[in-house]
């Protein structure tokens, strides 16, 4: 085989393990020069691992990467890899303290005599930005840019290397429609110029728009390789999900009946502290036209209402604004516009302490970061939200008071610990999350914001936690806002709202919800019989 006929990039039988996880199982993939290949799959399918292997960032356990038929450079030969392939990663790789120009030309070693030609660098950067229609000055520090502008810098950097292969890992996650169109024009231009492009996206319509071929990955293996013209979006979704959604690896998460006794116990274990102020009939939580340009995903005017005892799931892709919505409602992040009302009272956003006083409980997305203080005990963490209630007029409280206050709820949630003073950092992930849930519920909130509450939690604890949250809401008339990209979490919800690019895209009101319809909606695709707002 001569090199001119060989694919520009070829992966043969790539195998990769992370501990006990078999991340890639004999993956074969190849991209010809002048082609754009789409790579799709659900979270955890192995896409990002494959990208890091193709970019030379990690070494496969088995198999081989070839460029133009030649074996790939050895691991660690950064310059050699960079000459072959350029990658726009999902997570920002921009150095915030450097200027736009410096970032675009970061790591380029082709400067004459090892000297940096600042004037050329700035001029070329300005040219690139003008071409993109962005008013980004080459001398601006990257920390002053918006998320979207940063993404443009990333793309400009990848294009500036002049490599003949380009990997784009969700490059449009933070882009507006106009910028996406410009990106597509640029990609089409590169492809017709003979560059091989691999395009990874959760937005399937984008894949159909610019890719000639598509590869579907599931559980670390390639399950389908086909021209995009040969299949419909529905078929693509079905292939991504697989024919058997409930695999042995993900057994049924919860049945409402199975946890009924526990959920009642949880609700009973929470001391009633709420004073039902405001109107009794109206919705407990009202979100009106919430907008924010958060780095975690922006919101473009999200409105929703949750009534007493109602569980509403919010789902969407990584950048769709799902966790942002939860954080703004909980007061962990400020909104730019719109209002949050709890029982008719406006709650100022961006002040977690005020939100809590207004009765908003918060189960954060990353429990290690925000969920607990690792070296403090179970009882202390579980009662952290109610120290003002426990202590007397002088603010004094004894450790025993904390232990006694935490005990009923820790038992109802079956927190497994050696004692109330065991540091939470020593507990298993599931028990840590139970402590975080206890900390939230013990305050007797009238609104609970739970963001991916079952992430990294084992199957049994998952069912228990979801049951406890939903049960608490039902028993006490609280409103539950469950923000999660994990579809299994939404089983107990009364309604599911799907966000796409920071806007409410669809709402599902009849449980049980169809998995494939939910996935299509998160991808921004409309399927038959679906209600679009």
């Amino acid at each position: 085989m001569t090199s001119s006929l060989a694919p520009a990039v070829q992966a043969v039988g790539i195998d990769k393990h992370f501990g006990s996880t078999h991340a890639l199982r004999g993956v074969d993939i190849s991209i010809d020069a002048g082609h754009c290949l789409g790579l799709v799959g659900r979270n955890g399918a192995g896409k990002s691992t494959l990208v890091s292997i193709l970019s030379g960032l990690s070494v496969p356990d088995g198999g081989e990467v070839r460029f133009d038929g030649e074996p790939a450079p050895t691991a660690g030969a950064v310059d050699a890899w960079r000459g072959r392939i350029a990658t726009v990663f999902q997570h920002s790789m921009v150095v915030p303290q450097l200027t736009v120009a410096e970032n675009v030309f970061l790591g380029h070693r082709d400067a004459a005599n090892g000297m940096v030609n600042w004037r050329t660098m700035r001029r070329r950067t300005d040219d690139i930005m003008a071409e993109w229609g962005f008013e980004i000055r080459s001398t601006t520090l990257c920390q002053d840019l918006t998320v979207e502008q940063l993404q443009v810098v990333e793309i400009a950097r990848a294009l500036a290397t002049g490599a003949r292969c380009l990997l784009l890992d969700e490059p449009t996650a933070a882009l507006e429609r106009g910028a996406i169109q410009r990106l597509f024009e640029r990609v089409n231009q590169l492809v017709s110029g003979g560059v091989a492009v691999m395009y990874i996206s959760h937005h399937l319509e984008e894949v159909f728009e610019i890719c000639q071929d598509v590869v579907v990955m599931r559980d670390g293996a390639v399950v389908l390789t086909t021209p995009t013209s040969a299949l419909t979006k529905d078929q693509l979704v079905t292939t991504m999900v697989g024919t058997v959604p409930a695999t042995p690896a993900s057994p049924p998460v919860a049945t409402p009946t199975g946890t009924a006794a526990t959920t009642a116990a949880v609700a009973a274990a929470v001391p009633r502290a709420r004073t039902e102020a405001g109107s009794d009939d109206g919705p407990v939580l009202v979100v009106e036209g919430l907008t924010t340009s958060s780095t975690r995903g922006r919101l473009n005017g999200v409105s929703l209402q949750i009534g007493a005892g109602e569980c509403v799931g919010v789902t969407g892709l990584l950048s769709a604004g799902v966790s942002t919505l939860g954080r703004v409602v909980a007061g962990a992040e400020a909104g730019d516009g719109g209002r949050v009302l709890v029982r008719g009272q406006v709650v100022r956003t961006g002040r977690r302490d005020l939100a809590q006083q207004a009765g908003v409980g918060y189960i954060p997305e990353d429990r290690r970061l925000e969920g607990f203080v690792a070296h403090l005990g179970v009882a202390e963490n579980a009662t952290m939200t109610i120290t003002d209630r426990l202590s007397g007029t002088l603010g004094l409280l004894r450790p025993r008071q904390r232990t006694e206050a935490a005990q009923p709820l820790s038992e109802a949630l079956s927190v497994v610990a050696s004692g109330p003073d065991q540091p939470v950092g020593e507990l298993s992930g599931g028990n840590q999350q139970k402590v975080t849930v206890a900390r939230t519920l013990i305050h007797d909130p009238s609104v609970i914001v739970a963001i991916t509450p079952t992430r990294g939690v084992d199957v049994a604890s998952k069912a228990l936690l979801l049951g406890a949250l939903a049960g608490y809401a039902k028993e006490t008339g609280a409103a539950l806002l469950l923000a999660s990209d994990e579809l299994d979490d939404l089983v107990l919800c009364d309604r599911v709202v799907v966000l796409v690019r920071g806007e409410v895209f669809a709402e599902f009101t009849d449980a049980p919800f169809d998995r494939e319809e939910l996935i299509s909606a998160t991808e921004g695709l409309v399927r038959t019989g679906q209600d679009i707002r």
Partner: protein, 373 residues
């Protein structure tokens, strides 16, 4: 409206309905019997004792060092184990001890304050300057000494508030902010009195640092009281507990509704006020306020050393007053033994520093990670 397929949402449970409590035991999806874990109630008291036991062990880690120092001291000089000498040590270390309490509080919230040493010098200097007549290098306002003490506390509070606002609200680095403030304050301390030493302090102003009650220095009584009150506050007051939460994980504390910024600023204020009170004790002890007091003596090294030897973590969230007090006592003993052993003044600092480093190392070896962090 959408109508879903049943399989997607709730697959019927394959397991029989179980006792809800068995959910705690992380049952195996394959239905194997899972071991039932300890119930939290059953294990409650042993757990409590266990953690307290760990704390006591950590404090006790320095006990052998203290015993060795006492033995060495009594071998070096027969004057060591006398009431006079021991109360003398007590008086010497109380001023440092009060500053150590302030710095420990700031370390507990995950902060750091170098400027306590300048506050320790400037606050008594400002107060004495306002109290004393022009003949003693005062400014001639001749304020009431008690009013002077109030002003001393206010000076501390204002410095702490400035530090706190710059660090917490201004999001500046605490090390650099307090380093800059240290130098500014030290300059003020010399500037307002043109580098003169202020002496002939009124009795009321020097009382705290120089008086004895029943053979015990007042400064020692007050310092011990401060250690006890702050120790109990940290253990039993909700704000004290919030300090540990803020230092241990500020994001988690904020998510739990704790007013993190307010607590941080408050602790900076409290730390500086304590440093000012420590300075008052020192001025009383030496019956003068010199331009050297605090920054000139470089006491901040001893302050950090005592706190860290005593197990207060530089990363925040860990440590207590028992440990901090142990660290202060250890430093006081070392200093006293070096004095009694007639170590040449030219060498005393080198040996002092070496002993502190050795104590830190020892505390790390015996006390484990938490002591050294």
């Amino acid at each position: 409206m959408t109508s879903g397929t049943p399989q997607a949402a709730a697959t019927p449970g394959t397991e029989p309905e179980s006792d809800p409590r068995s959910d705690s035991s992380q049952p195996d999806p394959l239905g194997k019997p899972a071991p039932r874990p300890d119930r939290s109630r059953a294990a409650a008291l042993p757990g409590l004792r266990r953690t307290q036991g760990m704390d006591i062990l950590r404090q006790a880690a320095l006990a052998p060092v203290l015993i060795i120092l006492v033995v060495v001291g009594s071998l070096v000089s027969s004057a060591f184990l006398t009431v006079n000498n021991l109360t003398g040590i007590g008086q010497q270390i109380s001023a440092l001890g009060v500053v150590v309490v302030g710095e420990s509080l700031i370390l507990l919230i995950g902060g750091m304050d170098l400027s306590l040493e300048s506050t320790y010098g400037l606050a008594p200097m400002v107060a004495a300057w306002l109290i004393l007549p022009v003949s003693s290098f005062g400014n001639g306002m001749k304020l009431n000494p008690f009013l002077g003490i109030v002003i001393l506390v206010l000076v501390g509070a204002v410095i702490g508030l400035i530090n706190g606002l710059l660090i917490v609200k201004g999001r500046l680095n605490g090390f650099i902010v307090t380093l800059g403030v240290t130098i500014v304050l030290a300059g003020l301390q010399n500037g307002i009195v043109k580098a003169q030493t202020l002496f002939q302090l009124p009795t009321a102003f020097g009382y705290l640092g120089s008086a004895y009650v029943g053979g015990i220095p007042v400064s020692l009584i007050v310092a011990v009281a401060i250690f006890i009150v702050v120790g109990l506050f940290l253990r039993y007051h909700r704000t004290g507990r919030a300090i540990y939460a803020v230092g241990g994980n500020p994001a988690a504390a904020r998510a739990a509704g704790i007013k993190v910024d307010r607590i941080r600023i408050g602790v900076y204020v409290a730390g500086s006020v304590l440093a000012a009170i420590g300075g008052l004790m020192e001025s009383g002890r030496v019956s003068a306020v010199t331009g050297q007091q605090g920054y000139g003596e470089g006491i901040i090294f001893s302050v950090f050393a005592a706190a860290v030897i005593g197990g207060v973590s530089l990363k925040g969230g860990r440590g207590n007053m028992v440990g901090a007090a142990t660290g202060v006592i250890l430093l006081g003993l070392v200093q006293n033994i070096l004095d009694l052993a007639n170590v040449s003044n030219y060498w005393i600092e080198a040996i002092d520093g070496a002993v502190i480093l050795f104590a830190l190392l020892l505390a790390r070896v015996i006390g484990g990670e938490s002591t050294a962090e």
